[in-house]
Symmetry: C2
Subunit: 763 residues, 2 copies
């Protein structure tokens, strides 16, 4: 049925296509993805055209070697990502804790003499740090603002945001978050660390940053988007693993929250990366324990250990815990909604006025934060210390200069402490430790907790979306543990007999707020367990998360989804929309005209077609000898651009080139986000032709025109495609593939298979 | 291009198809899966044919209600699965621990007088329990033998094994595993519990067992395989969560090990099920703590708590830990290989001789096990108790009748213990607790551990594959912790200064053996942490697992994959085979002839075609007015059988029925694994015709004939398909679907979309 000539052409195309350097299983399977649609990232496309005769064996040999090398490099990169992210996390942590430590040490020593001077020093110290952060971000790395998680999520879903994975973003993120977190703003360093991990992974995948001459040719093995996405997934997991010292949580975060296409092979590699991070962080912390890292090193591998918390729970406690879940859902949904409005306003009005406004804004926020966190505790009356229990390791008031509960701040007597200062005038990590702490019943008054909750919630909402690197995990834990502890206090008062720890309720509150805002389940659960080292509370955390997520889902989407949508990142959700069920594939195409190429096309036509539209994929259509038309494949814009730029494959004849013709040299062409306007062709060039057959993707995914759109959606999303061709219904069926046909044994000789298949009978 | 008449037909087909009761998004998307291929399970197929005029609004209304009800029932079922599996697990645990408790109590009280009499009682007690187990399994529920995990894995991969999810299998599994575990065989109850959870889920999904009149019409909402698979996935997670009291481990086990098609929506529900299990088990255990459950109730929610184990590790310890990983990989791979040979031999020779042989075999194994576990400790010389440390809660020898270390068995003096009896003459749970125990350095001699390792390994290999319910987790932990502790002993001797706990090495050993045999990573890691409550060892467990899995993978496949293959369960692996890259879809179809139906087909033809082959899907081909043929869909064998049985849709005319014709009544037909031979048709019936258009799946997935087979494989596996039609290349492209086309906003009016799509321009 096919003309011989065309058959040859397709055959060649298939072979040549499979000879691209990326032509291992995965790359071939995901060829629809092999180029980014917007071309904004610097990318290189290598392709080769080689003589067709007798290269099969050689290629098979080289292919196997290549695959081995490729797999080796993959694992080596996973190792490097782990080490890099681990070190970055350690660096950030050391810096932040030292800056914050100096700040509080200095302030505390000054307020022994004058509260006004201490106040000023405190404000200035914060302002300086925050200003350095916003300066770096606005002047040097604008993409480093925010948490970066929505963007990474978008990237892994298939949408590339400009500049999100550059070297300068990495640097901006690291130093920016040191400034913003050290400066005491109501934000965390965990989200930025995820972004940092992703940046490190992506830069490794590119073989270093070409712009800063850190590139290495040797490492440029990963050309497909799929490989890069895999690396970035590893990077995300590494980021979480490093930020929370929660390796399993990192794997699950990558799995549940960020990736869109997950393969079980990848899990194994992500797991390895997380393990490496754990070892690196642990080693660094062991080294710091001896006091070489200044203020850093007090904590162990588990950040907020509450393993000495509540052992058991009684049935009556489930009700207050459910209430915590509901509160978390409500406050979380409200947080998402408020930040959405504010971010919308910022994007559309405030931040359009330039970076000076951004800087002023952040400095103002810093000023307000400093005033509140220093000023409010001043207004609070100190409480007398509780009577010292035996065996209690908690001192009241805490010894000067150390971290701990019962901060003596603006108190008249020695044996007094200021409960608001204990949580407010402290680093967030220490405040959380104080809120989670067991054996400290009635340390905080309800009034202080409520004040703190309202104030900190407002600060977190206002701070979100400013031009500094900002994570929402730690603020979320702060907010949640405050109302959790508040509920715990009521429970302690109400059920008097039970052995209830307020710190346990604080932990549940933290889980509920994060669940209500970010809507994660399994990964959050594991992260909460890993950071608090209390497995006994696992069922309770699960329960609270289930409730808070369900309540939150009734109001709006998760924080990252909301933000991604606001930033114009079109995430494909895992579930098709309801109305898609009633639509067909044809309807989804709308009334766009399909622009297609013939097999052999004039260069001038290519140029004019590429200029006239912005499509990224073009079907290629050929005609058989008896005049029937036939779709022979899909040509990508990026590949066309390479062809146009290299000019080597131009030919004078408008006839298909003989695929068995003279051997063309192997070569590599690199394109970096070029557009059609960057390519200059002489008028002679324009008169020539290109035979597209060797370069196209010969078997793009196709769907019949009347397939239900929800079915198409699943196909698209499950396989991570970029283009699906909608074609008419087939006129005949050549065969039916079932499970049995796909069960080819390894030991079966592939030649037998080929011999069998020569006698295919069709209908 | 399409004739009007045909267009109508297809349109109707699409509408009617989407009106099947299962026609929510998921069911429609997965319609290729809606019937099992072997039809061996009892299934019901509901379908309706309704008048076509003006039912759209009504249907939309009903559809929404139906979807709400459907989602509600889904969650309700998740709750029920959690409660059911939790209760089943508690029941099994209470029974096993009580039987084992009575047995040891009785034996210990008798051996105070006579070791011979005690020996005989011990043997008889074990024999009785094991015989009851094998009797139940062979006579009543043959599918309950083994762990069931390979079969469940196969089921979730799309292969239905006969009888695996029946009510009698559930009963056989529960009572069988009580007998086999209580009887002291070298097997565990954890694998069977996973199977139990899956059975409970599947029975719920069927609305109870119809055979035993426990069915409820009201709950029969889940008709598609997809829903059933989702339920079974929940059941698996619940099983693991209940077996190990590890809810997060359960979710991850279901995710990593058993499911083939995972959706993030499902994760959420699986998580809920696990949480329910955790609460149920915990509540039951709280109730048992007061002593109402006999010997059960000593353990807490964490099975083998070693949170007081090693706090930290030094760099030098990484080498012995890596060695443990390597040993685990080697022994695990050897275990897989040996069990593979033995199971092969059993299946092909021994078990073909009938159930009497099976019973004798199991009884023999029980006899050998009893003799070894009682006899070997007798030969072992007792050791003197170590000097009592202060604050040590471990007594030596342990008080009579209790569980604990330092068993006094056949010892001359009072202050002596028998180290072999401590691990051998004990329930496996207690033996593991003793092996994991901290602060018991040098409790075991290397000789005893080696003896135990060799003996128990051999017993585990021999026991595997006998006709009793048998899990491999606990034996694996036993084996692993033995050599782990052995390595730990050498480390303690070698690095004398370090604070090393042998119990920690035992834990790592257990992880390594399971990793080397089952090749799980993340889920196993989480399970190990959850059952031992020691988060600090997480990085070490990860490291050991990575090594042991890598070593094991060098030799063979994982235990479950090997067993599944042996049992003829064709699992589709996540990665296509290498040679598939070079094959096309057409080649995969082989030289099988495609059997197809015309749109209107004579009943006699349907019968003869169904009798002449065993295909489960048939393309339906129609002709347009100008004589072109056109594939209009895929008809499933099971649907054809329903049509033949009901006879309502037979028509006299060989012309397509007018889709707008008279309203046919709504009705439900139930088929239970009928085959074509069960249907009796009169000769009049055979002369009539059926119009297949309203009943077929109008848009099966299609691939062009020359698509690379590895691409087809991914499509097949990612979407969980049963049939893919291989068709010729398309002649034209109607449209191109990209990400943008799939981003339909919720608030967009669907009518606008339909208006737009009326003006589709094609090429």
């Amino acid at each position: 049925m096919l003309s011989n000539h065309l058959q040859n052409g397709i055959e060649t195309a298939r072979l040549v296509w499979s000879r691209l350097p990326n032509s291992d299983d995965e790359a071939l399977d995901e060829v629809g993805l092999s180029k980014k649609s917007d071309g904004s990232r610097s990318e290189s496309l290598d392709y080769e055209v080689i003589e067709n005769n007798a290269y099969r064996e050689e290629q098979a040999q080289r292919g196997k070697l290549m695959v081995g090398y490729y797999v080796g490099v993959k694992w080596f990169f996973a190792l490097l990502i782990g080490i890099g992210t681990g070190l970055a996390a350690v660096f950030i942590n050391i810096s932040v804790e030292n800056f914050a430590g100096w700040k509080f040490q200095l302030t505390f020593s000054i307020i022994q003499k004058s509260y006004v001077a201490g106040f000023l020093v405190y404000i200035l110290f914060n302002l300086l740090l925050v200003f350095s952060s916003v300066y770096i971000v606005t002047q040097f790395a604008p993409a480093a603002a925010g948490s970066g998680i929505p963007e990474i999520k978008g990237y892994l879903n298939g949408v590339d945001t400009h500049g999100i994975l550059l070297f300068r973003t990495l640097i901006g993120k690291i130093f920016g978050s040191i400034g913003s977190v050290g400066g005491g703003l109501a934000l965390g360093k965990e989200g930025p660390l995820v972004h940092t991990g992703a940046c490190i992974a992506s830069l490794l995948g590119q073989g270093g940053s070409t712009k800063y001459h850190l590139s290495s040719r040797w490492l440029q093995v990963f050309k497909t988007d799929r490989d890069r996405r895999d690396l970035v997934t590893c990077g995300c997991a590494a980021g979480v693993a490093a930020a929370f010292r929660a390796p399993v949580g990192g794997v699950l975060f990558a799995l549940e929250e960020v990736t869109s296409w997950w393969r079980s092979q990848l899990m194994w590699r992500v797991f390895f990366t997380s393990a490496v991070v754990a070892v690196v962080v642990r080693t660094a912390m062991g080294w710091c324990k001896s006091g070489k890292c200044g203020h850093f090193g007090s904590g162990g591998f588990i950040i907020w250990d509450i393993s000495d918390g509540q052992e058991d729970y009684s049935f009556e406690e489930l009700l207050p815990m459910a209430i915590i879940g509901v509160i978390g859902g409500l406050l979380g949904a409200l947080f998402n909604q408020l930040t959405l409005y504010i971010t919308y306003w910022r994007r559309n009005y405030l931040h359009k006025k330039g970076s000076r406004v951004k800087m002023i804004e952040v400095c103002l926020v810093s000023l307000i934060t400093s005033v509140i966190s220093f000023g409010l505790p001043l207004l609070r009356k100190c409480s007398p210390c509780p009577e010292v229990e035996l065996n209690s390791s908690i001192e009241c008031p805490r010894p000067p200069g150390m971290y701990g509960n019962y901060v003596n701040f603006y108190c008249g007597k020695d044996k007094e402490y200021n409960d608001l200062a204990t949580i407010f005038f402290n680093t967030q990590d220490d405040a959380i430790r104080n809120l989670f702490s067991a054996k400290t019943i009635h340390e905080y008054s309800a009034q202080s907790l409520l004040t703190f909750l309202v104030m900190f919630y407002s600060l977190a909402v206002v701070t979100f979306g400013t031009a500094v690197p900002a994570g929402q995990f730690v603020p979320g834990i702060m907010i949640g543990s405050t109302y959790g502890r508040l509920v715990g206090m009521f429970v302690v008062n109400f059920y008097k007999k039970l052995n209830i720890e307020e710190g346990t309720y604080a932990l549940l509150g933290a889980a509920s707020f994060l669940g209500g805002s970010m809507r994660m389940t399994v990964s959050l659960c594991v992260i909460m367990v890993e950071i608090t080292n209390n497995l006994k509370l696992l069922p309770l955390i699960m329960l609270v998360l289930l409730i808070s997520k369900a309540v939150g889902d009734a109001f709006n989407e998760g924080l990252y989804e909301e933000q991604a949508r606001l930033r114009g990142i079109p995430l494909l959700e895992s579930r098709p929309k309801y109305q898609m069920r009633k639509m067909t594939a044809k309807e989804a195409c709308g009334n766009k005209k399909v622009v297609y190429f013939p097999r052999v096309v004039k260069v001038a036509d290519v140029v004019s077609i590429l200029q006239s539209n912005e499509h990224n994929g073009f079907p290629v259509i050929d005609h058989t000898r008896n005049g029937e038309s036939l779709v022979i494949g899909l040509m990508l814009r990026s590949h066309l651009l390479v062809l146009l730029q290299s000019k080597v494959d131009f030919q004078h004849s408008p006839l298909p080139s003989d695929p068995r013709g003279g051997g063309k040299p192997i070569r590599q062409v690199e394109i970096k986000g070029i557009s059609i306007d960057d390519i200059h062709l002489s008028s002679d060039d324009l008169e020539m032709y290109i035979d597209l057959a060797p370069f196209l993707n010969p078997s793009p995914y196709v769907v019949p025109e009347d397939m239900s759109l929800s079915k198409v959606y699943n196909l698209f999303r499950q396989l991570g495609l970029r283009h699906i061709l909608v074609v008419p219904r087939a006129s005949r069926v050549i065969g039916l593939i079932t499970r049995k046909d796909l069960l080819i044994e390894d030991n079966e000789n592939s030649e037998t298979v080929e011999l069998q298949s020569t006698s295919v009978r069709s209908l």
